[in-house]
Every structure is written in C-alpha cells, then in structure tokens.
C-alpha cells in the first residue's frame, strides 16, 4: 500500500510539474504565435492581390455564411480590388483560404491561397498546391464547377484522389465571388 501511494505521488508530482511548465510556455509564446499568424496573413494578402500595396479591412455588420472578412486593396490610394477570406468545409474540416479579386471592368480572380487546412497529407493536401490553385488566376467572375479532366472556361480540373478538397476550394472561390458581386457596388469598389 505504501509503495502504491509513493508511485502515485511521484506520477502526480511529475504530471503537475509538466502541466505547470506547459502553462508557462503557452503564456509566453501566445503573443509571438499570434504575431506570426498576423504577419503570415498580411504576406498572403499581398500574394493573392499583387497589384495592391496597402489593405484596409472592409467594415460590415455581418458577413454571409463561410465569409470571414474582406479587405480592400489600394495601389497609390486608388482601390484596385478585394481580398476575401473564406472558410469552406473540406474533407477534414474547414479550409482557411483567401481569394483575390480585381475590381476592373470586367473583374477577374487574381489569386487563391490556402492558409490552413486539415486535409489528408499527400492526397487532399495536393489540392492546395500551386498546380491546382493556379487554375483560378485570371478566371472571370462566374460560378465555377469542378470536372475531372479537360476543363472548359468555367470549369476547374479536379485533383485525382482529392475531389472533395478540389470541390471545397472551388466552392470557397465561388462564395468569395458571390460576396464580391453582391457588395462591390455598395462599398464603392
């Protein structure tokens, strides 16, 4: 009995010490982690809308489902387009992505980037790679659909083995385009 208590006590002390150490580390690194995240977001915003040099968040009371935020991009004080942050559902949970839209006449998609996803490494994750993403750049602002092989103008070629992820990313782009079409007039873009 005495032996068991001693063992349990030792485990308890070790577990307590580890928990305390983790709590301290978490508190110390929280700010740096948040800063890292903000820096990454700013960098990606510049990548999806390369023509803009400054961004300002769009003020809105509420965004539709799956739209998280939007930023208006400016080049030399002139509005050139928007970056829309969307969160469509993928195979393994939400996909955190940004869509850049140029507000020229006619408007077109300037770029798509995925910041965070929980798709399966190897396959689903292939759909977030350059080869798939680059299909979106330059597309007009129309509803896009996913097909397998030889896509037309309004279609996107799915990545073999990750059709669900391909569809989810395309869906995210459609959501962003829809938001832009409905709101661009109002916010003056």
């Amino acid at each position: 009995m005495k032996h068991t208590i001693r063992s349990a006590l030792a485990l308890f002390i070790i577990a307590g010490a580890v928990m305390a150490a983790l709590g301290v580390t978490h508190a110390l690194t929280r700010e740096a982690a948040a800063g890292q995240e903000a820096k990454q977001r700013a960098k990606v915003m510049g990548q999806v809308l390369p023509s803009a040099s400054e961004f300002a968040a769009v003020e809105a009371d509420n965004f539709p489902d799956f739209v998280v935020a939007a930023h208006e991009g400016f080049a030399g004080g002139v509005s050139v387009g928007f970056v829309v942050e969307v969160l469509p559902h993928g195979y393994g949970g939400p996909i955190d992505m940004m869509v850049g839209i140029s507000s020229g006449e006619p408007g077109f998609i300037t770029g798509v980037r995925i910041l965070r996803h929980s798709e399966t490494p190897g396959l689903g994750a292939l759909a977030v790679k350059e080869r798939f993403r680059s299909q979106f750049a330059g597309k007009e602002l129309i509803e896009l659909t996913v097909v397998k092989g030889s896509p037309r103008e309004d279609e996107i070629d799915a990545i073999a083995g990750s059709t669900i992820t391909s569809k989810a990313v395309t869906n995210g782009v459609n959501i962003a385009v829809r938001w832009y079409s409905e709101n661009s007039e109002r916010i003056g873009g």
Binding site: H3, R6, S7, A8, A10, L11, I14, A15, V18, A21, L22, T25, H26, T29, R30, A32, A33, Q36, E37, Q40, R116, P121, G122
Partner: protein
C-alpha cells in the same frame, strides 16, 4: 572525454538509428520529401531527445520502477508540447504546416524510448546528454540523406536550390509515398553490399 566522443560516434555511425537500427521509420519516411523538412524534423526530434534524456537521467532515482513508462510518457509529451508551442511562435509558418502532425507524434518515436529505457534511465546526466546528442544527430543525418535524395530526384532541387529546371525529367514518384520506401530500400542494400566488401558479417 574520449568516452563522450565515442558515444557521439556510436549514435552517428556504428549504431545509427536509421541505417543500422532501422527504427523510427514513420517520420523518416513521411517528412523527407524535401531536405529542409528533413533537417527541421531531425533537429526537433534531437532537441526533444536531449531534454527528455537529461531530465529522466536526473530523475532516475526518484521515478518508481512500476510506473516508469507512464512517467517517461508524461515527461516526453511535455517536452514535445513545449517544442510545438515554440515552433508555432517562431518557426516559419510553411515549415510548421509541412511537419504538421509529425511533431506531436515525436511522443511515440521509437528511438526516444529505446534511448530512455536502455541508456538514460541507467546512466548519469552527462553521459545521457552525449548519448542523446549522438543518436539525435545520427537520426538527423539519416533524414537528411533521404531528404536530399528524394528532393533531388523528385523536384530537381537540393535544399530548395533548383538544379534540374526541366520539370519533365522529375520523378514525381520519389516525393510521393512509394519513393520513400524505395529510397530506404536501396540505401540498405548499398550498406549490406559495402559491409560485405569490408568483410563485416551482415545482420
């Protein structure tokens, strides 16, 4: 001092965890699609191993034998979580994403438990430090060798520096899952061959 140099040499060469002991294959095969990932994963594992082995070696008289595995698991997972928090805060985000789930999975890395059970729990902290250093560097070496081979043949680059620009000559299979198995298979065959030439009996 010579004793410690021998410990490092043992981990790096004589008992290299990758090429000789053939353990801890999960991260070895999974994250070696590029040399940079391989270095990062190797150093992460080595860092956890150093901390955990020294800590356990210092505590070895206080940990009761019957609950020692549970105690080791708690200590190792603590260090792994600290590492994960640090990487999240200070490492480049792309790299953190690329290593993904394999960082928390260091907890169940076989080399770690092998070193703790067979060395750190029986030796003093300084010796455990050098043992963990040797094994950690040996593991990193293994990862980097495989990472460089796979990246070179699969993406035509080494450490991100492009060497073969013509994408049609890239062997995509090398950066996919089967390439990992083939690369390690060929390396082990070469090792067997050279050991035979040197007259060392193979295992």
């Amino acid at each position: 001092m010579k004793k410690y140099a021998l410990l490092i040499k043992r981990g790096l060469l004589d008992e290299n965890p990758v090429f000789v002991q053939l353990i801890a294959l999960c991260p070895l095969l999974a994250v070696t699609t590029s040399a940079v990932n391989a270095v990062m994963m190797g150093l992460s594992t080595a860092a956890v191993m150093l901390c955990a082995c020294v800590a356990i070696s210092l505590l070895r008289r206080l940990i009761p034998a019957d609950v020692r595995i549970a105690a080791y698991v708690i200590i190792v997972s603590g260090f792994v979580t600290v590492l994960q928090l640090l990487l999240q805060a200070y490492a480049p985000p792309e790299l953190f994403e690329a290593l993904g789930i394999y960082i928390p999975l260091i907890v169940v890395n076989c080399i770690l438990f092998a070193r703790i059970e067979s060395f750190a729990s029986k030796n003093d902290a300084v010796a455990s430090f050098f043992d963990a250093l040797g094994m950690g560097l040996g593991f990193t070496l293994g990862l980097v060798v495989i990472g460089v081979i796979r990246e070179f043949f699969g993406s035509g680059s080494v450490f991100g520096v492009e060497i073969i620009k013509d994408t049609s000559s890239h062997l995509l299979i090398m950066v996919m899952a089967p390439g990992a198995f083939f690369t390690l298979g060929v390396i082990i065959m070469l090792r067997k061959y050279f050991m035979l030439r040197k007259g060392v009996p193979h295992r």
